[in-house]
């Protein structure tokens, strides 16, 4: 009976602590960062299917499912780009890329070879439309 009472009092606390620890472990703190993380001396190409297009500040992300050449399970890739405001001014919308779209992506790779990169461009396979993530030529006043 005593033992049962102990369990009743300790178990919820232990569960709460475990939940807190899990939340802390998964809490994302690195949303905004310098793009120096990506190796801009290289541009690589990736083909896959869009899983989702995350249209958020400070950075948007194209999540892509890629079938490895040697077979096996599809792999999730995250290709990161600039903010919705900058993309909007470059002619993008949040619907420019949709889940299920087959795409070819040009990207700056992560230096450790993991499945992520910084976006240079996306080409929609169905239409051939190429969306660029470089806006250096739009640096002037009174843009239309």
């Amino acid at each position: 009976m005593n033992q049962l009472r102990i369990h009743r009092s300790v178990l919820p606390k232990a569960l709460a602590m475990a939940a807190l620890a899990a939340a802390a472990a998964s809490w994302p703190v690195y949303a905004h960062h310098s793009f120096a993380t990506y190796d801009r001396s290289q541009t690589l190409t990736l083909k896959g299917t869009v899983k989702s297009f995350q249209w958020t500040n400070p950075h948007c992300v194209v999540w892509i499912m890629v079938q490895p050449e040697g077979g096996g399970e599809q792999q999730e890739w995250s290709i990161e780009t600039t903010s919705p405001g900058v993309l909007t001014r470059g002619g993008w919308t949040r619907n420019s890329i949709k889940p299920g779209d087959p795409v070819t992506v040009e990207y700056y790779p992560l230096r450790d070879g993991s499945h992520g990169g910084g976006l240079r461009s996306v080409t929609l396979t169905a239409t051939g439309q190429k969306l660029s993530a470089s806006f250096g030529d739009s640096e002037k006043p009174g843009l239309k």
Partner: protein, 273 residues
């Protein structure tokens, strides 16, 4: 009888300080009049959406670096080395506001300037809390302002130039030269800006930054911005923390945000539990 003159002085100083603070709090902001709006219309029009000239930011970083003290210069060099190696120092990762003066120096996002009687307001894009209030109603800095990310700013016009004085910045706020290189100001930073039009749609901000804990002398530098009138350049809402989540449905089918998995500062998985 023993006297304590220093205690009397201290008591007087405390009372005077309390009186000053109380006097500040007793002031009422008067409603603007037609004359206030008319006076505003005669000043240079700085209102609208401004996009930073990023290529010039980069050029300035190379040609006019801050006069770092020798100790800080070593930290800065280490950060440049880390950036080159692909391990950028996380200056902005926490989603706090970039803060002043980095707001004007390194941002890649637009800001919108609102000109109203007695005040200029800068609304930044990218992080919803990038907000500067510059009081132009003739007030002084408070006697004991709360430190903040953007500090306390007062402005006045000298001809066609808006002169802005900013103090009371949190010591943790970075003086940054790019998104991966900079150091906290560590207190007592003072910024004077001279904001003026170079031509109808180009704005210059001439900054003079005094930060005795970091710099051997006052650093003078300029940043430029281009005005955009096209409606597609209107500022969009930006909530930095939102970028750490992806849209999802919870077990009851309600729309929710689910944390993204990050590794070494970059998003690596949208299915983190």
């Amino acid at each position: 009888m023993k006297t304590y003159p220093h205690r009397a002085i201290l008591l007087f100083a405390c009372l005077a300080f309390a009186g000053l603070a109380a006097a500040e709090n007793d002031i009422t902001n008067r409603p603007p009049t037609l004359a206030d709006w008319q006076a505003l219309a005669k000043l240079p029009d700085l209102s609208g959406v401004w996009t930073p000239v990023i290529s010039d930011q980069i050029a300035q970083e190379r040609t006019n670096p801050p006069p770092w003290t020798p100790t800080v210069a070593k930290q800065i060099q280490r950060m440049y080395d880390e950036e080159k190696a692909g391990r950028p120092f996380p200056i902005i990762d926490h989603c706090f506001p970039t803060g002043m003066p980095s707001y004007m120096l390194i941002t890649h996002n637009a800001f919108e300037l609102l000109a109203t009687p007695g005040r200029m307001t800068l609304l930044g894009e990218g992080d919803g809390n990038r907000l500067r209030r510059i009081y132009t109603d003739g007030r002084s800095h408070p006697a004991d302002p709360d430190p903040s990310f953007h500090g306390h700013s007062i402005g006045h016009w000298e001809g066609k130039t808006l002169v802005v004085d900013t103090i009371a910045l949190l010591p943790q706020v970075f003086l940054a030269v790019n998104e991966a290189v900079g150091v906290p100001n560590n207190g007592d930073m003072h910024i004077v800006e001279r904001i003026h039009l170079l031509n109808p749609d180009t704005l210059a901000d001439d900054l003079e930054i005094t930060a005795n804990k970091l710099l051997s002398t006052t650093w003078k530098t300029t940043r430029k911005y281009y005005r955009q009138r096209a409606r597609k350049y209107d500022i969009v809402e930006g909530v930095c923390a939102q970028g750490s989540f992806i849209e999802a449905l919870d077990k009851d089918g309600n729309s929710t945000f689910k944390p993204i998995k990050f590794l070494n500062n970059v998003p690596v998985g949208s299915d983190s539990k």
